[in-house]
Amino acid sequence: MADIDVSGGDSGHKKGPGVKKAKKLSTRVDMTPMVDLGFLLITFFIFTTTMSTPSTMKLFMPKDEKDKDKQTEVKESGALTIMLGKDNGLFYYEGQLKEDGSNFTPATYKEIRNIIIKKKNDVIASHYHTPACEKLQNDAKAKGDKDWKDACKDKDFVVVIKPNSEATYKNTVDILDEMTINQVKRFALIDITPDENMLVKATEASNKK
C-alpha cells in the first residue's frame, strides 16, 4: 500500500569481476518512533479528557431567621453535633453539651459514620407516632416512596455541623457527603460557638503534648 520498495535487500545478481556494486540504500523508513509518538499523544489526550468530568453536590442552606418563633427547634434527644477542627480533627456530642464537657468526644472521619448510623438507629428506636407524622408519611406516599411508613421515623434526627476556622473545605464537604451517604434528612451547617471552639482548641493542644 504505502511502502515504496526498491528491492535493496536481495542483491542476488552477480556481476562480473571489477564491476563495482552500486550501493542500493533502502527507502524504507522505520516507522516505530512514529508509532511511539502517536500512542504517546493518544494516551495524553485520553487522560486529559477523562479527568474533566466533575460532578456536583447539592447544598441547600436555610434562611437566616432572626425571629425566635420561626426558628426550627431541635429535639435534644435527636441531635448530634459534629465539630471540625484543624488537622482533620473531629469532635462530637449528643444532645446538648454538658457544662463540664463530659459528653464532648473526639473521633475520626472513619469512625463518624458508625456514630451517625448508631444515633440514627437510636432515634428511630425511640420514635413514637404523633399526628404530625401523618403529613410526612402522606408526602412520602405521594412521591411514590415504597417505605412511606418509615418516612417519619427519623424526623427528630438532626445533625449539626460546626466547622471552626481551622477546618478545611475538604473536611466540610466530607461531612456533608457523610450526610448523603447515611441518608440524613435534616442537617445544618452552623458556626461554632466560642465555648465549643475553646474545647476543641484545648483538646487539640493537649493531644500535641
Binding site: 456536583t56 442552606m61 473536611n171 457527603d177
Partner: protein, 223 residues
C-alpha cells in the same frame, strides 16, 4: 538428497497500517477533547458520592483556592447572550463607581473571570486577555466586614433576571472554612440558598444507607 527449502521470511512487519490507526485515534481524541477554559489557579476539589451532572450554562462559578483567594466567573448559554455579561459589569460599574471605559467592559465580556478587589478591577481589565490570565490576582474579599462578592452576585442575579441560575462553588481541598463561609454569606445576602458544590465523583461505600438505596432504585445517584 533433495532438501526442502525453507524460505527465509523477514521478521520486520510493515508498520504503516499501525501508524494509520494510531493517528486516526489521535485525531479523534484531539477533535473530541473539550479543553478546559483557562483557569486562574489549579483547584483540587474534594470527593463526594454525588453524581449530579455539572451544568456550565447560565451559571455563576465561584472558585476559591488553597490560600482562600476567591474568583468569580459568569457563564452564559450562548455567545449571543454576551449582553448579559455586559449588564453585569455595567451594574457593578455603577454600583461601585469603578469608572470603567467601554473598552474595559468589553474586555470583561470576553473573559469574565475576576479575582481582584474592586480597587484593582480597572487596572486588571486594561490588560488584554492573554496577559490577564497570567496576572497573579489577590482574590475577591469575602470577609464579614468587606464582602465584595455580594456585589458581584447581586449584579449577576440582576443580569440573569427571569432565568434559572446555578450557583456553582468550586473549592480547594485545603482551603479553610472561613473562605467557604464568606462565599456562602455573600450568596445568602442575595437570598440565594441553593448551591452546587463541584466535586470529584466517588462511589457510595458498600453497606451504607445510600448504597442500599441506589441498589434498589438501580440508579447511579442522578436525581
Amino acid at each position: 538428497m533433495p532438501s526442502v527449502k525453507i524460505p527465509k521470511k523477514s521478521t520486520a512487519t510493515d508498520m504503516t497500517p499501525f501508524v494509520d490507526v494510531a493517528f486516526l485515534i489521535l485525531s479523534f481524541f484531539m477533535l473530541a477533547t473539550k479543553f478546559k477554559p483557562p483557569a486562574p489557579v489549579t483547584i483540587n476539589t474534594p470527593h463526594s458520592v454525588s453524581a449530579d451532572k455539572l451544568k456550565e450554562e447560565n451559571a455563576v462559578l465561584i472558585e476559591f483556592d488553597s490560600v482562600g483567594r476567591v474568583y468569580f466567573t459568569m457563564n452564559v448559554k450562548k455567545s449571543e447572550d454576551d449582553g448579559l455579561k455586559m449588564d453585569l459589569i455595567k451594574q457593578v460599574n455603577d454600583n461601585r463607581k469603578l469608572g470603567l471605559t467601554d473598552a474595559e467592559m468589553s474586555n470583561f465580556v470576553r473573559y469574565t473571570t475576576i479575582g481582584s478587589p474592586f480597587a484593582q478591577v480597572k487596572t486588571l481589565l486594561d490588560l488584554p486577555k492573554d496577559e490577564r490570565t497570567k496576572v497573579k490576582q489577590t482574590g475577591i474579599p469575602v470577609d464579614s466586614t468587606n464582602n465584595e462578592l455580594t456585589t458581584w452576585i447581586g449584579a449577576a442575579k440582576l443580569a440573569f433576571q427571569g432565568q434559572q441560575v446555578f450557583y456553582m462553588i468550586k473549592g480547594d481541598n485545603n482551603a479553610t472554612y472561613p473562605t467557604f463561609k464568606g462565599v456562602i454569606d455573600a450568596l445568602k445576602a442575595n437570598d440565594e440558598l441553593k448551591y452546587k458544590l463541584i466535586t470529584d465523583p466517588k462511589s457510595a461505600p458498600p453497606g451504607t444507607a445510600l448504597y442500599t438505596k441506589r441498589l434498589q432504585s438501580g440508579t447511579k445517584g442522578e436525581e
